[in-house]
Symmetry: C2
Subunit: 467 residues, 2 copies
Amino acid sequence: MRAGRGHWIRVLSPLILGLLLWWQTPPVGVTQQAWHLLVVFVSTIVGIIAAPLPMGAVALLGVVASVVTHTLTIEQALFGFGNKVIWLIVTSFMIARGFIKTGLSSRIAYLFVSRVGKSTLGLSYGLLATDLVLAPAIPSNTARAGGVIYPIALSLRDIYKDKDSDDSVGAFILKTAFQGNLITSAMFLTAMAANPLAAQLARDLGVEISWTTWAVGAALPGLVSLVLVPLLLYKLCPPAITKTPDAAEMARQKLKDMGAMTRVEKIMLVVFCLMLCLWMFGKQLAFHSTTTALVGLSLLLVTGVLTWQDVCQEKEAWNTLVWFAALVMMASFLNKLGFIPWFSETMGRQLGGFHWFPAFIGLTLIYFYSHYLFASNTAHVSSMYAPFLGVAIAVGAPPLVSALVLGYFSNLFSGCTHYGCGAAPIFFGAGFLPTGRWWRVGWVVSVVNVVIWLGVGGLWWRLLGYW
Amino acid sequence: MRAGRGHWIRVLSPLILGLLLWWQTPPVGVTQQAWHLLVVFVSTIVGIIAAPLPMGAVALLGVVASVVTHTLTIEQALFGFGNKVIWLIVTSFMIARGFIKTGLSSRIAYLFVSRVGKSTLGLSYGLLATDLVLAPAIPSNTARAGGVIYPIALSLRDIYKDKDSDDSVGAFILKTAFQGNLITSAMFLTAMAANPLAAQLARDLGVEISWTTWAVGAALPGLVSLVLVPLLLYKLCPPAITKTPDAAEMARQKLKDMGAMTRVEKIMLVVFCLMLCLWMFGKQLAFHSTTTALVGLSLLLVTGVLTWQDVCQEKEAWNTLVWFAALVMMASFLNKLGFIPWFSETMGRQLGGFHWFPAFIGLTLIYFYSHYLFASNTAHVSSMYAPFLGVAIAVGAPPLVSALVLGYFSNLFSGCTHYGCGAAPIFFGAGFLPTGRWWRVGWVVSVVNVVIWLGVGGLWWRLLGYW
């Protein structure tokens, strides 16, 4: 059981970094307490990136470090666990289990494919439509991609593997499903686990983003992306076979095998529609989005669609609870203890000579392309979102739009590499595209996405009065 | 899938009760908001007792009801999840997993049995000693009883089943293991899941109980009970065989089979000892008991004794997190919104003519024997602990001793029936004692326990300066 050198570097790097920084004199304007919390936070983020242990364990160690060093009290350190945004995500994981358990998510996919799957391009739109429909209620884009879309994409591609010697159909479908997954993730607050983290960090800086604000803001640029990106990939990764009547036929056959909707599927569908309504119109009832998710979960429990056992066993939810609470807690206290305001103000003064517009574009592009360095949306959001938003606001950029752009980009930026988020290695791992081509295509798509979201998005948000 | 009438009664009784009470005019001195929360709380407790769904699900429904009716805000409703006492228990569940996973708990049991197991009485003391050693770190007395003690007790009894036609050895050993489990549960704040709930409720009423205060207070009466109760049961359920050299031999054989302590067992032992030290002397380091538990868990994760997967899969911990947070939240707000103070004051005025001593004895006895009506320590503690403690304080009983007695009794009271707590049906289910005899013996033990804890305990607490 001897561990390699790489293992020890990963174990020791956060520790050594932390020890080196701990006794440094903090810059003027930063208190000793804020500095110490910053050191714990930076070490935790380095630990999450180096990953000597899974993210949840590293985050927990960060919490313990903050308490044992008396940087925070135990009450402060546990404060994140009562955060309402965290429980939105935890609850959504349970509800996603209902989609998969009842088979409703597969049925939706087969339904779309049977309708629009007669051509390869149509197939890809069918998968994207499925992803889009499921996105509001399945907050792990990895679960959506890996649990629903990927198996179906692969079985569709299998129909053509004999006629398609260089796997061009597989390459096109899987790359489109991947890029589409990032777009749908960007479109809803509840479509990716780190989105609510971004929203919480924005709230700490005084920018309130509701479920509806996020979704309405993303609607137009998101739909434009969802339409254009498959067309672009159709050029960049052209499939050798363009007509796919057998796929539509397979989907019809699968639907036939499934038979009529079961009782639990129907309940799941009704509960999901109710949740969408409450998420959209909850303000009138004074229902927070977390309340809506809890109501949905309660209904699934009462109707027996989910058992309490299912809830307790949903380990991805509990994992997310721990790392999310840890990061939200640290980020909140970095703000409360004055570090984020100090950083934003200092950076803002440096950029004081610029008009806000070029400064803002520069910030968002740095934020986007620095994701080449990250293997997790969460690590990126938790380390860079708050300071970048703070600086953007400090240089005079419109706060809501800045918060949204950085939030949307926190999903789209994962398309550049094959490790950018949990969904990437799944689709890349199918092996239809070599690494170099995956990166080049990803880069072109990223440029198109940036142009669409800043261009079409910019106009749309103006129209909506967001700035 | 037609459910019986019993099922519908269980589903509807909390609902109907809630609806009936909702529009009642609250008594003078109770606000509308406090009244509505009381209705939600009472319905939740009735739901936990009727159990149409598992406790966690019912508690979650209670939380949702409090938010949907706008009795509490979503922030208030989730407030319990950040409670430090809750995370003490959640973390302890993970640590208990380490005991069982490494095999250390079985080794400890075999060690005691090999030393003192030559007689039937000695065997029972060996099992009790094991339970006592594990109690501080395994907060589910059901897990301790069911996961460690019960299987070993049963295998010890199996050695003698051929020679013991009426199973008197099994009856004695299992009944002693059961009653002993309740005593060890009473002895540590971290030995039973609802103990910290009692401590939290006491804190809400201004009585602070630390880990050490609880343990020191319980030490003498607990040890007296642990010595006397097996002797009493030796008379009440006399075993036909009193010499058991084979049991000690079997334990020695098992220890031999296990071989030397493994690396993970040793780490587990060291971490456990460290935690005990920190729990006892943490005050000097300003370490809360939750901090200690988190440090212990961190060490187990870093050393690889537990994986992060183990933590996320520990579903009993997550179940406890939900019901515990829900009940703590409701009980806290019943207090903050003024209901508990109002109730205690009103009841206190009624009892105003009595000296505090008879009033206090009466209260504790009612508290103890009302457990005939409960199938869960938690349901009992969460519904009756706070008002009974409030009344005791209002009539002038010493607050700390009142809080402790009610806390200790919250464990001991489960010995009367075969359904009083999670451990009861396990030992009863072995089938060595008929129900009537189980109850009669339980009643005698309960009287002895009450006398020991109020008598010996009372003197001990005086000596300690607790009153």
